[in-house]
């Protein structure tokens, strides 16, 4: 009788060895097609659960499940390691996207009709993100964000401060604010990624848009291109809190929302968090004026959220049906209202008021993608910038940046060289 215990154990082992993961898009018991989306913006979880409900209420043949986990990139990568793919992923237009395209785990969606309505500029950004050029299209841009400086509109009006147009004006403004006993900037550098926000916003003004690719081709070095950014970043630090490394992103948003500083150099994505602390805050933004010339500035804007269908997904048509629903004008408008984002779809959308100060740049199309979207995540540039801000040694930082870059991008550089050898140098 007791022997059955061993048998049970053996049986369990066998079952374990035989059983395989349920793939995506399986038809469930009730005959519906299952579509699973994992999207990486936990702050938009409410929006997506509404979308999920509405979709399921109006569709009898497809059951949609959207999850918005915290730290989704780790979860996605862990799931990819397990080869357990969702049907659609919602990710940003950054190096992860480049890797996923390179790994051939995303489906070519060039046959998706909705692409016609997407702003070409954003499709170009995605194209530029591919490590080596491909024929297909692997993502449908949803919304973009912009990084610059958020400011307290009421505080500015009260003191008669003006929006700075170039670097000197910015520094003069900071001195003025400081003289009134108010903290000009808040930083939340305990969360390393926030170190990248001012960095990106300044780098687009001061370094070529394709710096990373130029370096990969051996045409320039970061020491040359990033020196001015680094030096100016250190100056900004003087106008922040005494110990910016003690506070995280949440703390910084809270402090800025409570009026503890006049400005916060971060992306538009921070607005919902800030407004949740203080809904009455009169929030606006302006483009980071890092250039010495007023017309040398450009808005730092990149794809914040885009949807990719996984190559593994067995029901591409059902996935497109879901995309159609997501990209319906009224849903996009709801998203940009809730998350203060810029739509990637063409059409008559009402931009959120906190982007007022950036609207001109958006309408002109004077926008440049984030530099960090080209940085390999394992190089941890955010932590390197944090180290630099602590040690304040420009030369050490830049020379380490250059040597680390070559090491972490070795495989990419080789890939690009191989490609160019085969196809001839396209440029």
């Amino acid at each position: 009788m007791k022997r059955s215990k061993i048998k049970y154990l053996e049986a369990a082992l066998c079952c374990a060895a035989v059983a395989t993961v349920g793939g995506c898009g399986n038809a469930s018991d009730d005959g519906k097609i299952q579509i699973e989306i994992v999207q990486y913006k936990p702050e938009a979880a409410n929006y997506f659960s509404t979308v999920e409900e509405e979709f399921n209420a109006t569709h009898d043949d497809i059951h949609l499940k959207i999850s918005s986990p915290n730290d989704a990139m780790t979860i996605l990568r862990t799931r990819f390691i397990r080869e357990d793919y969702p049907d659609i992923i919602g990710i940003g237009g950054d190096i992860n996207y480049s890797y996923f395209v390179d790994a051939e785990i995303l489906a070519d969606v060039s046959d998706y009709e909705g692409l016609q309505n997407i702003n070409q500029a954003y499709l170009d950004i995605d194209e530029a993100l591919e490590l080596v050029p491909t024929d297909g299209i692997y993502a449908v841009p949803y919304v973009a964000n912009a990084a610059g400086v958020l400011y307290n509109r009421d505080m500015f009006a009260e003191h008669g401060w003006e929006i700075p147009q170039n670097w000197d004006e910015l520094i003069t403004l900071c001195d003025e604010i400081k003289a009134e006993g108010i903290l000009p900037f808040y930083f939340g550098f305990k969360d390393t990624w926030t170190c990248l926000a001012p960095w990106n916003a300044m780098a687009v003004d001061l370094a070529p848009a394709d710096t990373a690719k130029q370096v990969n081709r051996g045409e320039t070095t970061f020491s040359k291109e990033y020196r001015e950014v680094s030096e100016k970043y250190l100056k900004l630090l003087n106008y922040g809190p005494d110990d910016p490394f003690a506070y995280g992103y949440n703390d910084a948003c809270t402090a800025f929302a409570r009026g503890e500083s006049a400005m916060y150099p971060i992306g538009s994505y921070a607005a919902p968090q800030i407004l949740s602390v203080n809904p009455d805050l009169n929030l606006d933004s302006f483009v980071m004026p890092a250039s010495d010339n007023s017309d040398g500035n450009t808005l730092n804007s990149g794809i914040d959220l885009q949807f990719c269908v996984m190559a593994d997904c067995p029901n591409k048509e059902a996935a497109y049906e879901v995309l159609n629903f997501l990209y319906a004008d009224e849903n996009i408008q709801k998203y940009i209202d809730a998350q203060t984002a810029i739509p990637c779809k063409e059409g008559d959308f009402e931009l959120p008021s906190i982007l007022d100060g950036m609207t001109d740049y958006i309408l002109e199309g004077n926008m440049t993608d984030y530099q960090d979207h080209y940085y390999p995540s394992e190089m941890a540039v955010d932590a390197q910038i944090q180290t630099f801000l602590l040690q304040k040694d420009v030369d050490a930082f830049l020379s380490k940046f250059d040597t680390d870059w070559l090491r972490y991008n070795r495989d990419i550089i080789r890939l690009v060289q191989d490609y160019e050898k085969q196809h001839g140098n396209a440029n």
Binding site: A16, A19, T20, V38, P69, I81, D251, C253
Partner: protein, 280 residues
């Protein structure tokens, strides 16, 4: 110990111990107080930090439970811990018995014994990436996979404990049963298993504490399955609390309460178990 009657109470030691105790009480006191307060009551002055909440309301807890899906995580944690402990006692004691009785005179068993016990040196870090892949390939990226992994991870330690304990159990006990015609299997469950009861308690305590508080294994295996254990839920929902530290602390406290209750009830067994396990 017997001569204590003629010694006085050691006053300096008492004072030292009471002072030392404050380093343990203070963080816990803080946790409780913050968990009950409202965000508006949080100030950065000493009196503000130490003061009791104005109203003892359970609202923070209710909200924290909702955010972290507390009952679900609690159920998972309980399920994983209880099943791991039960399986560990059954499987590891059997293995300890088989190896302990044979390793002295059989090369095969002594090799297996060394092989398993040396598993103690394998850091989780080297296993974690392949394990993430492997559990998924086997369809075990769920709580049951976590349990199986625990049974393997704690095997070296527990087999060592059981086979060590077995040395104290005379063969004569078994031989008497054999004379009555009982099979080895029956003899084990009827005679040896009950005699090892003190070791079962030790193994249960050690395994339960380690499993209950473990973050890494469920993090690697269950990430993305929307199933959490209690510690994993704290990790996954950390950013959803934002700067509402009161809510966060309510959630921390909730996750500590089950083990605190368990400790208060079984304090003696836990202390004994831990000491036995370490001293062997």
């Amino acid at each position: 110990m017997k001569n204590m009657m003629n010694k006085k109470v050691n006053t300096p030691a008492m004072i030292l111990l009471i002072l030392g105790l404050s380093t343990i009480i203070f963080p816990l006191y803080l946790t409780i107080v913050i968990a009950f307060k409202q965000p508006s009551e949080m100030t950065n002055s000493i009196s503000g930090i130490l003061s009791l909440p104005k109203v003892w309301s359970l609202n923070n807890f209710r909200e924290a439970m909702e955010i972290t899906n507390f009952w679900n995580s609690l159920r998972n944690s309980l399920l994983i811990t209880l099943l791991t402990v039960a399986l560990s006692i059954a499987v590891h004691s059997l293995m300890g018995y088989a190896l302990g009785r044979n390793k002295a005179h059989s090369k095969f068993y002594s090799f297996v014994y060394l092989f398993i016990v040396s598993g103690m040196f394998v850091p989780f870090a080297i296993l974690m990436m392949p394990i993430a892949k492997q559990t998924a390939e086997m369809g075990l990226a769920n709580w049951f996979g976590v349990v199986l992994l625990y049974v393997v991870f704690y095997m070296p330690m527990n087999v060592l404990l059981y086979s060590g304990y077995l040395v104290n159990i005379p063969m004569a006990l078994e031989e008497a049963a054999k004379v009555d015609g009982a099979s080895t299997w029956r003899t084990y469950w009827k005679i040896i298993f009950p005699v090892m009861r003190p070791m079962h308690a030790t193994v249960a305590v050690l395994t339960a504490l380690a499993v209950w508080n473990d973050v890494m294994t469920p993090l690697i295996v269950m990430a993305g399955s929307e199933q959490n254990t209690l510690p994993l839920a704290q990790l996954n929902f950390q950013s959803q609390f934002g700067t509402n530290y009161n809510l966060a602390f309510a959630s921390y406290l909730l996750s500590l309460i089950p083990i605190l209750i368990f400790y208060i009830i079984c304090q003696k067994q836990i202390l004994n178990g831990v000491v036995n396990g370490a001293v062997k």
